[in-house]
């Protein structure tokens, strides 16, 4: 279980960074920009939230595998690596981040941004000094939820990264294998650990969403 914990932490660490950066940029794009296909893009990015993880994994096998640009042009061979698992975890965590961050950014009053502009601030300054700080609760709440979901990822990860002990076996896979093999004690311990982390993430999300109830 210890080696699986290490793999899980690496996967969630990278996935959290990816969700934070990509999620914030995409949320800004979806909340502020008007362009053709915006709704389609938003729906496509939200799909992993409702699709069975095996379907996400199946798509990712094609996106990352033989014949894909990622592998053949960029030379990134991510199948059967923990980095591949991080891609799968990011894909399923991102929609949760987007939902929350997009709503938070859309709720920032444009009058405040315009005020900053009339005071001579550049667009990047408006973004970093006004928009993101005002939306930070929603963004962080989305990030916690997305990371928690990334930690619990199982189906897509199994397809893309496999279940290789010490290399790509994550905590959810330990639970699955232990339950199948009748090692109920290990399954219970690992499940409790995962539940504890998930509870903490939800608790933090809740506090961010309801600041007055501290």
């Amino acid at each position: 279980m210890l080696s699986a914990l290490v793999v899980s932490l690496k996967v969630v660490g990278v996935a959290t960074l990816a969700i934070a950066v990509l999620g914030t940029l995409l949320a800004l794009l979806l909340a502020r920009a008007r362009f053709p296909g915006r709704t389609v893009l938003e729906l496509l990015l939200t799909l992993p939230l409702v699709l069975p993880p095996t379907v996400v994994g199946f798509f990712l096998l094609y996106v990352l595998g033989r014949g894909s640009p990622v592998r053949d042009w960029l030379g990134l061979d991510l199948l059967f690596t923990w980095q591949g698992a991080a891609v799968a975890a990011s894909a399923v965590g991102l929609p949760l981040m987007l939902q929350s961050a997009r709503a938070a950014i859309a709720a920032v009053d444009p009058v405040l941004e315009d005020a900053a502009r009339t005071l001579g601030r550049s667009e990047p300054e408006v973004l970093l000094r006004v928009t993101l700080p005002l939306a930070h609760r929603g963004i962080l709440a989305g990030l916690f939820l997305g990371s928690a979901r990334a930690l619990g990822e199982f189906g897509a990860t199994l397809m893309v990264a496999g279940n290789i002990p010490g290399r790509t076996r994550t905590l959810p896979m330990v639970v699955y294998d232990a339950a199948l093999n009748g090692d109920l004690a290990l399954a219970a311990q690992t499940s409790l650990l995962l539940s504890g982390i998930a509870f903490l993430a939800l608790f933090l999300t809740r506090r961010l969403e309801q600041p007055r109830h501290r």
């Binding site: 660490g13 990278v14 960074l17 990816a18 934070a20 950066v21 914030t24 199946f58 096998l61 094609y62 990352l64 595998g65 033989r66 014949g67 592998r71 990134l76 061979d77 991510l78 199948l79 059967f80 690596t81 980095q83 970093l128 000094r129 993101l132 700080p133 005002l134 930070h136 963004i139 962080l140 199994l158 397809m159 496999g162 279940n163 290789i164 002990p165 010490g166 290399r167 790509t168 294998d177 339950a179 199948l180 093999n181 009748g182």
Partner: protein, 262 residues
Amino acid sequence: MRVLPALLVALALVACGGGERAAPDASPRSETTLLVSAAANLADVLPPLLDAFQERTGIRVHVNYGNTAQLAAQIERGAPADLFLAADRRHVESLANKGLVLPETVRVYARGKLVLWARADSGLALTSLAELASSRVGRIAIANPDQAPYGAAARQALQRLGLWDALQPKIVIAENIQQAFQYARSGNADVAFTALSLVVGESGKRLEVPPELYDPIDQALAVVKGTRREAEARRLADFLVGPEAAAVWQRYGYDLPALASR
């Protein structure tokens, strides 16, 4: 509130750094470490075999356990496995037809045995499959007969005995043989059709289903085409079908096709 921008910049920096670090990490294997994609039913028997192989050759082996169809799909998309140990022949032969594994390396390495298993306290005699029709048997767990080889074998055996249709109301379908076995072990089913290899170390009652009632459950292997470790993968394949491995396969409840046909 200046924390968030700073945090995001920091995250972005670490993310870039992480990306650069990822490249050398992507293939942490040395040339003498093999990666085997193996059917999940081998989880017990493979570790002792691989330990013996490493002792003899110095070649380390990592294993990716999974469901045979999923492992085959991964190999089709170019997953870097060196050797494929399937739970059946069909998926290996299909990969060979597509030119994804080396056709001359396709071999049957083990033959599974179907058993009927019940808890020691079940009160069943388990001397004949006909007992399944008795009222003492409530639920019968089998692996999905459309996907799992042992599930298909169980259905075939019951069909040949003319019991399949009559037993339908009692049959519960599990995703695979491990799950079917867990249904019976936990008492949620009265009996389970499963693999002998799964129950060799277990207490409880078991009845080996007569082999003439079902087609052989042959498990085939093949070396994946294009691996940089083809020589080592071939060595492992030879080892797994060789005399030293034979005793281990038998101890774990498998028949060997070479012995069975003699």
